[in-house]
């Protein structure tokens, strides 16, 4: 399988999961972990049922409801007021029973967004393949796992066969040299990367993030970066496992324990890319040049430093691109040359699989401490999981945030995509720590500016997009 050719981290994980290579190069790829949620699974379970098929490996599968769960009020399926949301959650609960899938109930303290709880519970491990019917499965690549989102037909395929039919992706290396400056975070790093390579730059590739600035990130930061790989077009992101990774995994509920852990670590140490391994594309950024970032448009690549201004379509040569930029400005109600820091906001959302971890809430609380949410601004903090929420409350972060006028909610995907009652109303403008600023993403007619947790808190207390470096 390997030969003597130097291999990348991606090549190694891929090679070790090929069950069979078909004549045209398509591989039957083995999947170690299948994470299931309520939105993209009902049709897959139904497909199994119709074909009389069983779930091949319930013991490699785990299910949780996250997209539809309200962040206030009763946390039971029956307590969900919206009928279609309730049916979707109840359908998941029926399906996991019928097919014998391990399930984390809504009231369990470990419930949360599937991409938060995978790593948190030690379900996501280096060197493994992880899939989920959700594009932000790329998150788990932060641990050095090959993790990618799939559609519902592929969800059914994994349920029935524990494999996928795939061709290997190309290798892309993104190296971020030096260290991030004051006030810049992992979120700013990944927004800067997407701004640089564009939202299609990673199509057909798996991105490996490397370099001093990436190595210096804690696991939460690495997950934020890997999470948004899909926003750069890459199905998966990867960060080579190292001591930071091993320390993070150690002792988590589903992770190997004791001697098994030592055995696993010995294997994980063999995973990083070999010296001289070839990449199809390489991009290098200097972390010192990355400022706190904010998006101005309706794709994540439409991003500028917070000190910047709204760009001018008149300066764009390509006619279609110019029209597209104008369309974005019209939707966002922004004018060319406007200073980003002059843009007033109505709502702040801190949460999601991108930035719903304890480190993110700490960063927001540090800015909020001793300040007040600006008049007329609604600021939501939605922890990514029950365990994150509990930890934050043990640290007193909930009190800091509540005192500053933030709302402290229960875990769910919430306003990242508004499948629960947390939505923007038409025309509302939001500083959001989520991952997508598409038209209508946070609610029909809503306007989204993607930022880091510290920048979101800065916006909340300022009433407008603000440079967090002036507040800390």
């Amino acid at each position: 399988m390997s030969g003597s050719k130097p291999r990348t981290l991606f090549d190694k994980i891929w090679d070790s999961h090929v069950v069979e290579r078909l004549p045209d190069g398509t591989c039957v790829l083995y999947i170690d972990r299948h994470l299931v949620h309520e939105v993209t699974s009902p049709q897959a379970f139904e497909g199994l049922r119709m074909a009389g098929r069983r779930l091949r490996r319930p013991d490699a599968t785990i299910a949780v409801a996250d997209h539809n769960i309200p962040t206030v009020g009763p946390r039971t399926p029956e307590g969900i007021k919206e009928e279609d949301s309730r049916i979707q959650v109840q359908t998941l609960e029926r399906n996991v029973k019928e097919f014998g899938v391990p399930y984390i109930p809504i009231l369990d303290v470990r419930q949360g967004i599937v991409h938060i709880i995978g790593p948190e519970l030690g379900l996501s491990l280096p060197g493994t393949t992880i899939v989920c019917g959700d594009s932000h499965t790329s998150t788990h690549g932060a641990l050095g796992a090959l993790a990618f989102g799939i559609g519902t037909s592929e969800v059914e395929h994994v349920m029935a066969t524990q494999t996928l039919l795939q061709k290997p992706a190309k290798n892309m290396l993104i190296r971020v040299d030096n260290t991030l400056g004051f006030g810049a975070s992992a979120k700013d790093m990944v927004l800067a990367i997407i701004g640089r390579i564009t939202t299609a730059g990673g199509n057909g590739h798996v991105i490996e993030y490397a370099g001093e600035a990436v190595r210096a990130l804690d696991m939460a930061g690495r997950m934020t970066v890997s999470n948004m790989s899909i926003e750069a077009g890459a199905r998966a992101g990867l960060i080579a496992p190292d001591e930071t990774t091993f320390a993070y995994v150690k002792g988590r509920e589903f992770a190997p324990q004791g001697a098994a852990y030592e055995q696993a670590v010995a294997y994980w140490r063999t995973l990083p890319s070999d010296a001289g391994a070839a990449y199809d594309k390489t991009v290098v950024l200097d972390a010192r040049e990355i400022a706190p970032m904010v998006t101005w448009g309706t794709t994540p690549g439409a991003v500028v430093p917070v000190t910047g201004v709204v760009p001018n379509p008149a300066e764009v040569e390509d006619e279609a691109a110019r029209a597209q930029m104008q369309r974005m400005l019209d939707y966002m109600a922004l004018v060319p040359g406007q200073r980003m820091q002059d843009v007033a906001i109505d709502v702040v959302f801190i949460g999601s699989c991108t930035n719903g971890r304890i480190e993110d809430i700490r960063a927001a609380a540090a800015v909020a401490k001793g300040r007040k949410v600006a008049d007329g601004v609604q600021a939501l903090v939605v922890p990514g999981s029950g365990l994150v929420k509990r930890q934050a409350e043990q640290e007193g972060l909930d009190r800091v945030l509540l005192e500053a006028g933030f709302e402290w909610r229960d875990p769910c995907c919430s306003m990242c995509l508004g499948m629960n009652p947390d939505k923007l109303t038409p025309g509302q403008r939001c500083a959001s720590t989520s991952n997508r600023n598409f038209e209508g993403r946070q609610g029909p007619g809503g306007r989204t500016h993607l930022v880091s947790p510290a920048m979101a808190a800065a916006a909340a207390v300022s009433g407008r997009l603000a440079d967090v470096r002036q507040l800390v």
Binding site: S135, E231, L417
Partner: protein, 213 residues
Amino acid sequence: MDKFTTLTAVAAPLPLANVDTDKIIPARFLKTIKRSGLGVHLFDTLRFDAAGRERPEFVLNQEPYRKAQVLIAHENFGCGSSREHAPWALLDFGIRCIIAPDFADIFYNNSFKNGILPIRLPRAVCDTLIEDAKLGGNARVTIDLERQVVVRPNGEEIHFEIDPFRKHLLLNGLDDIGQTLQHAASIDGYEAKRRAEQPWMPATTATTAASAG
């Protein structure tokens, strides 16, 4: 899944880049447990205003494009969320083929699983086909998958590339789970080998707290 062999149809021009899957089908319509019936919500915010009235300027609200079976768009079609509701909505509306300079990977995959053929052609060629499509009902385009050509209304043939395995599945309307299960013995063998080599790999059923149901 329906076979895809040849298709002669009206093509709708959609000269937009980065058409994301939230745009194709917004999240509020994902709360279904079925695959069917999503066509009425396809491109919901582009097609309808807040009161639910058709926006006359949107191409799919115009004749003859209400019956379009082909879409021609710009770069990075289908980016964003992995929701297969996007191809389900397109298919339910009647779209069987999308032509664009490139597609987001997950959407590209999802299309094939539903009998929709995504064709990658250079931007300049897409722009030519968009000009053809603007001519309307008398300028139908033909897609011949077997021969891998798009035939313009003027008869000019444009070759496209497609993965042979995907082509085979689509031409014959084959379910790929059935294909994969032909390799069941290899999968068994692989699992046995992995259990021996990596006995440390824990099961998701490993703790009693996470019991089924």
